[in-house]
């Protein structure tokens, strides 16, 4: 009975708690700060996205207040700018060490001065900041007055099997119970909610789509690879993610694309190398074993139906020679099946129904579930584990090093699906990387079934093994992701790094395909100078930080060294991290406090480059035109006939006429 009451309560409370929005301390006497406007401008330009968010807060109370706004951390996002417009005053942000930033903000706030603070619980839990979230504080919002806040972040976007996906995360994953006990959230937008996306692709785009808002979103095609999408509402709610898909043309080649930033010939430059393999990875025809490990913890309430549909659709994709097993976990793990089940239409139907009947309860004990799943592996069959969870690991063993040690014992690939925005992606990445699998973050407003099927197509196709990307001819350093391990069907490789001098580079991708060594090579030039993409430096900095965090997790780097390295990178590239925050002050206050204006300089350079790019047509950044690295296409697609509703109406009308005439 208790469980029923808790489930009902959770369902009722969910819509108001699980979202981006202004935060009010639990039990506060005043009315919550209102969000009057929330507009989002996104530019997706050849491999990365710039997101600019403008908000207007209003204080309806008769006393000045501090506004606090919470927002889930987007995937691999580098928060780079915060600007606050409070009446006549304009405040700008500078990234400094987190504790110092908080001290400065509190001093200014307590003195009654205008100030702001941007903090992040990016990979680690933090006091008073929701897990995997940004927290913005603005003080004061004067009584019966408005304050405007603007922030900008950059993130690399990958194309998977010809489809690009951008998510503006708003829905809270509902996984941080501690934060919920501190804050109540106001996600309502009173006057205007708008999202504008400009897509600039160097390759033709066949289709763009906004799942859930197809009818509302106004799509304008400006050229083959140039689209504008606008969504404008008079009121809104920051509880649902905005998801945008774009599909490249079907017949594109495998390719190598390069973006660089090197403003001075005598100083190192930064690059982002994107490799889209054009290799025919055939479906696996022999039977294989699949072990589902499903999260049924309390925070999965509202997501279980989707999970069940995903499992059903995935089971339907299996071949008769395949077998599956299902484990579920909350506080502890248990097996739903009793050993492996052979795939047949009957077994698929039976176990799909059993998954549909699962009820959410308790905490999230991923370790026990994974261990049980791994113990169930039979050595003579190829086995994959599909781990679907939304959670922060909070029960049983939680140390990432233990996960690393466990997975190293088995030759099994783990594929992770993270549902919601506050899921523990650092741990999931560790699990996937250690086992040679991959993980996919899935928004609750996403095409979840499509994402699971996309992953399924990778799991059931050949993969490139022991893949390694090497660059010679041009001296590169601090590269991220050179040793890739496995490359699955449709996957793109994105490599960030630095290079000394321009010149001709030889790039080789070495890998094993069905046991045979394969090498794919090309040659192209790194430019001596280039000023088009200064944002690359921030994304490079963030990629470095993510690698350091991963090394710390698996025990390759002591926590104090990791913290120092992340702090240094955060300050150098002006990124908000677990250990660095953005303090937002007036120019004269920065000067008075002696805080260097490193971010101001970066922003000026970035804005100049963005202005130059704004009017230009989409640019194709392929660099292996003269000597293509791959001979094949970048991706194969599934096809289907679509007899759309209008054509059905037309056909039925014609059929009815024929029948009537015959009568």
């Amino acid at each position: 009975m208790k469980r029923v009451i808790l489930s009902i309560l959770l369902c009722v409370v969910t819509p108001t708690l699980f979202a981006a929005g202004t935060l009010t301390p639990v039990g506060a006497a005043h009315s919550p700060i209102q969000i009057r406007e929330h507009t989002v401008d996104v530019t997706i330009d050849n491999g990365f996205a710039r997101t600019e968010v403008n908000q207007v807060f209003f204080n309806p109370n008769d006393s000045d207040l501090e506004a606090v706004y919470g927002f889930p951390v987007p995937s691999s996002a580098s928060l780079s700018e915060i600007t606050i417009m409070n009446g006549e005053r304009v405040l700008n942000g500078e990234v400094i060490e987190a504790k110092e930033a908080k001290r400065v903000y509190q001093e200014e706030r307590d003195s009654g001065n205008d100030a702001g603070l941007g903090e992040c619980s990016c990979t680690k839990p933090k006091d008073e900041v929701e897990y995997m979230s940004y927290k913005f504080s603005v003080s004061p919002v004067r009584k019966q007055s408005e304050v405007k806040i603007r922030f900008v972040y950059y993130q690399p976007l990958k194309i998977d099997t010809g489809v690009g996906r951008y998510i503006y995360p708003l829905a809270d994953g509902g996984t941080d119970e501690i934060a919920k006990s501190f804050w109540t959230r106001n996600p309502k937008v009173e006057q205007r909610f708008a999202v504008n996306v400009e897509l600039k692709s160097g390759w033709p785009v066949d289709e763009v789509r906004v799942p859930g808002a197809e009818a509302e979103a106004k799509v304008t095609k400006l050229a083959d690879g140039h689209y504008k999408v606008a969504l404008d509402r008079s009121t809104g709610d920051l509880s649902k993610d905005f998801v945008f898909y774009y599909r490249l043309a079907d017949d594109l080649p495998g390719r190598v694309e390069l973006l660089t930033y090197k403003p001075k010939a005598n100083e190192p430059g930064t690059f982002m190398l994107t490799v889209t393999p054009g290799i025919d990875l055939a479906p696996i025809t022999s039977g294989a074993d699949y072990i589902f490990v499903l999260d049924v913890s309390g925070s999965m309430a509202g997501k279980l139906a989707t999970l069940a549909r995903g499992v059903e659709q995935t089971l339907q994709q299996f071949k008769p020679a395949d077998r599956f097993r299902i484990f579920v976990f909350s506080n502890s793990a248990r097996e739903l099946t009793s050993g492996f089940v052979a795939v047949s239409p009957q077994s698929v139907q039976e176990w799909s129904q059993k998954v549909q009947q699962l009820q959410p309860e308790g905490g999230t004990n991923v370790y026990d579930a994974l261990k049980d799943g791994l113990d169930g592996v039979e050595a003579d069959r190829a086995t994959s584990i599909l781990l679907i969870t939304d959670g922060v690991t909070n029960e049983g063993i939680v140390d990432p090093k233990e996960f690393h040690a466990l997975l190293k014992k088995y030759d099994v690939r783990v594929f992770g699906f993270l549902m919601g925005n506050n899921a523990n992606w650092p741990l999931m990445r560790l699990i996937a990387d250690t086992s040679g699998g991959f993980y996919s973050a899935v928004s609750n407003d996403d095409d979840i079934i499509g994402q699971i099927l996309l992953a399924k197509s990778k799991i059931t196709s050949e993969a490139l093994h022991d893949a390694k990307l090497s660059i010679s001819g041009v001296k590169t350093f601090d590269t991220t992701g050179e040793v890739i391990g496995k490359i699955y069907r449709g996957q793109q490789l994105v490599l960030f790094g630095r290079y000394d001098k321009g010149g001709e580079a030889n790039v080789a991708l070495q890998a094993k395909l069905t046991g045979q060594d394969q090498t794919y090579k090309t040659t192209f030039d790194f430019p001596e100078t280039s000023t088009e993409h200064p944002e690359l430096e921030r994304m490079f900095g963030l990629a470095q930080i993510e690698e350091i965090a991963l090394k710390e997790q698996v025990g390759l780097l002591p926590p104090n060294e990791s913290e120092q390295a992340i702090r240094d990178l955060g300050v150098k590239y002006q990124l908000v991290t677990d250990y660095t925050s953005m303090v937002v002050l007036a120019d004269d206050v920065f000067e008075k406090r002696g805080i260097a204006r490193n971010n101001k300089q970066r922003i000026e350079v970035e804005h100049a480059a963005q202005s130059a790019r704004a009017g230009a047509s989409p640019i194709n950044t392929r660099v292996d035109n003269n000597r293509p690295m791959f001979g094949g296409r970048s991706h194969g697609l599934k096809g289907g006939g679509a007899f759309d509703p209008w054509m059905v109406v037309l056909a039925l009308f014609a059929a009815a006429m024929v029948v009537r005439i015959k009568q």
């Binding site: 698929v348 079934i449 994402q451 599934k638 679509a642 759309d644 037309l650 014609a654 024929v658 005439i661």
Partner: protein, 212 residues
């Protein structure tokens, strides 16, 4: 003018449809085929999934079964609805042509996809057959009122699809599932060809009854 057109149509009425040496199968058989195929499509889409789709390395029998399975329930709903309507009308009009179109298009469509859409690695859906039946219906009944309007709309859709490489109204068949215009084109060609072949062999089988 209308009367003259009706008379002209009536002159081409095929009395064999009244039972005198008809080359057509019985309407009841054809109706049964429509019901069976629709039921198969629903059952296979619900329970069969990928076991029946056409892929480049799949067993040859999947050429036929690929039409019965669909990527989404929405795709199934529209395709099946069109199939029932068109199938019943075609079956009533000329059962043998209906069966011939079914058989020929079921085989030809996946082969056309294999040859003319090399980027497509798997195929599902009844809509290619729907296109074939629509073409058969329109060609066989091209003298009926508004036939030209239906034909223009249908051919327009096919041309637009062929030119743009996608559906006129983008359907949601899932990530990485695209509309295959060549399937619709191949279906339409098969349907039209069978109608003309039947007409060459047996004359224009305009229904008797109202116009005769």
């Amino acid at each position: 003018m209308k009367k003259e057109r009706r008379l002209a149509a009536g002159r081409q009425c095929d009395l064999r449809s009244q039972g005198g040496g008809t080359p057509r199968s019985r309407p009841a058989d054809s109706r049964r085929s429509v019901v069976i195929i629709t039921a198969l499509a629903i059952a296979i889409t619900l329970f069969g999934g990928s076991h029946f789709e056409w892929t480049r390395d799949a067993a040859p029998w999947r050429i036929v079964t690929s039409h019965f399975t669909h990527w989404t329930y929405e795709q199934l709903a529209w395709d099946a609805l069109a199939f029932v309507g068109l199938g019943l009308a075609c079956a009533r009009r000329d059962g043998r042509a209906f069966h011939a179109t079914l058989l020929a298009s079921a085989i030809a469509i996946p082969l056309a996809v294999a040859v003319f859409a090399p980027h497509v690695i798997a195929y599902r859906g009844l809509s290619g057959i729907d296109s074939a039946l629509f073409a058969l219906l329109l060609v066989q009944n091209r003298r009926m009122p508004l036939a030209w309007l239906f034909a223009i709309a249908f051919v327009g859709k096919l041309c637009f699809e062929a030119a743009t490489g996608g559906a006129v109204f983008a359907s949601n068949m899932g990530v990485n599932v695209v509309a295959v215009p060549v399937a619709h084109l191949a279906g339409a060609v098969i349907g039209a060809l069978i109608a003309f072949i039947r007409e060459l062999r047996f004359g224009n089988l305009v229904p008797c009854g109202r116009f005769s």
